[in-house]
Symmetry: D2
């Protein structure tokens, strides 16, 4: 099976290449990138030199593709890829929100391919594992939403439906394109800041999926999510503190049991007894979750992952594995690198 | 006026020495520290070499003292200092909680000097400015509480009284004593983690002071505070995201006006229009606050400061200035160092 | 005395503003910056909000100016300023090299004002303290050269004249303008790299000044300097390891004595007994030097400073103080901030 | 083949476990650690939880062992392991120096097993690849020496034999045991410092091996190495700048050719055209080398690696592969993780 990466020149694209390079079930044969077309991949990313690939302007002969294009552009290009018979995992945010009006509100653009929104599957295997194998187009979830949805899904149906998600992300989440206030070393090092207070585009993504969980459990919809992301001075990692109020109080053992059952058999979710550090996931596809009952029905859930792996490229490969009928963890077995 | 520092060998003590060294209204003449007694201060802290001080076992001839001792020890030593006629600012947590039972619950020890709890003034000048000049014993507030209380005080009386405080702190907050999981470089670098989920001792301090604000405004008490601190990989700085629900919705301009009025004339509180970075306060005594109305009565307040200055040594000097009738900002005029 | 800063929008300009804001002998009344003209200084640098200044397109009514313009532009603008009667400290590299051919080789441009090269004084007070008070134009030294020249000057005349300078700099030295490989957080964090192997423009500056020291001592010229700069993941600070071979071996006490005598009375050079950390200088105008005799005539000198203070803005203010007959350390008394 | 790790509780031990956990040719069945015996490995290192191992007091039934014990202790324990028929790779420094007097000078202790010094092979595969397969005891090289020896070996015979090695290391090199001035976050973050000026124990190791190269090429001995290590604020990585003077000048192409030939066929040495960043090796077993001819016979070689992989655990596994007749890169195929 030959696979290709469209727009390999960002961090998600490079991370896909790193993982696929050692994947035993597929062969990474092509990578593209407009501005860098014609250059060796090694000249953009020296750590990928052992692949020996040259960046092309377009994919040519692959059977499966990952799009790491920016949003809007991705949705413009994907319909043609599907017509050519490719199956596609889209890393951009273009096919995550089911409502094109919400897409327009948060992405500032009419959706370029609204007809595909229904068939696209939201690629969070722990919630949509049954739909992924048959899909031709996967909307790979956002990094923040992956941590928040996995953190809150087990207790949505038991809760007051009013959630606060306070997330802390490393700086690679802002991409490789330079922006003074979010990735100039001197501006962000030794500092923490909140941003997106007016409404980050990952907020409706979290709400949509929690609403889906609620609806499947109770038939109702209507969660309220307050989501505040922060930038902290580290390269990789997201840790979200998710605050909920339950309708009835639970004990800590009951809460642990709830989470352990919910994620039973999931290879990449670890439910743990003590608050994790985000770096316990560095370079791996794990999402580590620690739920904590504080009494009075107040629950705080700490959920962390590597934003470029389970929050992007690793989850994309996990989706590909499911689509191709491979072991879910094929190519993703590496342990986190610590320290 | 001769001033002394008891236990100069931690970070709060060193920061006090740095500020007092250039304070035009007092003279730092003595510093103590048991294990390092007899050594030049420069051998423990090379950056303080220009002071030319030697560490003593005990204070001898000063008129005013700062205690940077650990809790419990501080409360054991301070009664004797007061009897000797010293006025004292206590950097430890010993005299912050008014209720000795709460002290025992959170500090794990009977209070060594409960008879002083009434006369000790909680040294947050923005709330207790009237009581500080006449006090002989100031309980200097904790670093997290300073950011949280200043962030929430203006809207306590208008709120549902149910608050979430999600704080992110640099690593100097954990002190100079080595602890593998909180200040070994390799364990905390490139990582973020939550801790204190079972109840951090700064939680009752925040609740006590917000309750006080509520009571002065409405005659009632009874706030509920969920406080979750996090460690982020930076040396200095705290940024708290404070979540509240108001009884009636407010517009963003109304909210800004509320905060600007509340802190009018306060030299060290800056109410700003955009979310600040914690490093905008580095090395200075400023607390920068950005309140944000999200609709539906939901308010998020971002509040940040330098944990060793406004969160410890700088606020202690501010308290001293008020006690001695000096300009409130004397010795604290330095601008933040950026980047 | 009214002073102004031309091009305040970079890090050296902002650091000048921070220092001058609290300088008791002069008043910072004007700051300029082309792209940001008309904006409040606080909108570019929130930490400078307390100054209340607005960025102007040009200086108007000042008596003394600092140019923080990029090289070439600085030398184009300064002749006019001098004609207008201003005295000027130039932070750029334009007037440091005395030989316009060398300037062309290293800066890639004909010198815009070669007639001023003779009257410009190289503003390293420890070497040229006698010439600075009478100068109208000061070429403020580069950050790397300040550390290297101060580190090696005392032993040039005793040495084999073949020097290696291996320097490590924080990232603010590369400026505020974004460049992917030198200041994008994710590209430089958790990494160290050498650069400028083909010849960094600070190399002839170091060689020129060491040659000057040699000539004044022996009448000869002809030092050989191999200079390799490195970028390390920190915001501020330079630490240089300077390697020399002496004609005759010296003991460690003899070496210390040599350095202590050479810098006797200099307020900003500390000669110390143990290898310093660069952060012992953070925010201060100190250069800390530790010379080490290894036997066989091999000497290693460790020299460190804050690249934005003694390596740029602080040294510029020190030069201004000397030009105006003020105390050399006026406005520069602040101790380093640690940790 | 069952393998075990003695003293898994430090960083080198943990990194061995991480690599061996996914090694297809051997099975990691036992790990030991005295103070933590009886605990699950996951309680010390959560990222190793998927191994499901419990820490034992002693090895029991393995065929091959890695000793990650501290020096002296390692040499006390290894003779018994060899007698029990185990083949051993020693990560400590105990068997690297061939001269027991030099060992005593640098390690401050009589060598516990001098009779084994002759049979122990210095496990740098690029120099001693022929001797490693037949060895029962491998002295795994130090992290700094690996970077320095690989950087200088190709030109020793052509040089003046007087070398300066200026190395920059991340903080994991100082181990997991807490030491205030080398691994307390606040003391080392945002700082760089030189140490070991009186003679670091890796200096004789570098000299011994370069002398060996010289002797094999020319029959002579007698290199002079000045080695100065520095700590820079990052977790992993070493970058060494190695300074040499050649007897005759070479061009840059000649120099590149010399290095490419010397390392032809070596799977883990990359000779590259531009100065590398240390993070291009993060998590991988690569050593990246960039030699640079500066004219006049002056050569600077930049050499970098991950101190815990090629500088410790990865090289140990590479040695094991050679001893067991496996592919040299088995279990070490993972690409570096970037950014």
């Amino acid at each position: 099976m030959r696979v290709g990466i469209v727009n390999v020149t960002g961090y998600a694209g490079a991370e896909l290449a790193r993982i696929l390079a050692r994947h035993p079930g597929v062969e990474l044969t092509e990578v593209t990138g407009r501005s860098a077309a014609g250059q060796p991949l090694a000249s953009v990313f020296p750590h990928l030199a052992p692949l020996g690939l040259t960046i092309k302007p377009e994919l040519e002969k692959v059977d499966f593709a990952f799009s790491a294009l920016p949003h809007v552009t991705s949705a413009e290009v994907i319909p043609g890829m599907l017509k050519d018979g490719l199956r596609v995992v889209d890393i951009s945010g273009d096919f995550r929100l089911k409502d094109p009006a919400e897409y327009k509100q948060y992405y500032g653009h009419d959706h370029p391919a609204p007809e595909l929104l229904k068939e696209a599957v939201f690629g969070l295997p722990e919630l949509h594992g049954a739909e992924i194998p048959g899909a031709n187009l996967i909307a790979n979830p956002g990094c923040y939403p992956t941590s928040a949805i996995l953190g809150l899904a087990p207790l949505v149906a038991l809760s007051s439906r009013d959630f606060i998600v306070d997330s802390k992300s490393g700086i690679s989440g802002a991409g490789r394109t330079m922006k003074l206030n979010v990735n100039h070393y001197c501006e962000v090092n030794e500092s923490v800041m909140a941003y997106g207070l007016d409404g980050h585009r990952h907020q409706p993504e979290i709400a949509q999926e929690l609403d889906g969980v609620l609806q499947r459990a109770t038939g109702e919809r209507g969660v309220d999510v307050t989501f505040i992301p922060h930038i902290v001075p580290m390269t990789r990692g997201i840790l979200s503190a998710c605050y909920a109020r339950l309708q009835e109080d639970v004990s800590q053992p009951q809460l642990m049991e709830l989470y352990r059952e919910f994620y039973f058999g999931q290879p990449f979710v670890q439910v743990v007894d003590a608050p994790p550090q985000s770096k316990h996931t560095w370079g791996s596809n794990f999402c580590i979750i620690h739920p904590h009952a504080r009494g009075g029905g107040r629950v705080v859930v700490i959920s962390c992952l590597d934003n470029l792996v389970k929050g992007a490229a690793g989850q994309a490969v996990q989706n590909m594995n499911l689509m191709l009928g491979l072991r879910p963890d094929m190519g993703l077995e590496a342990l986190p690198i610590y320290p």
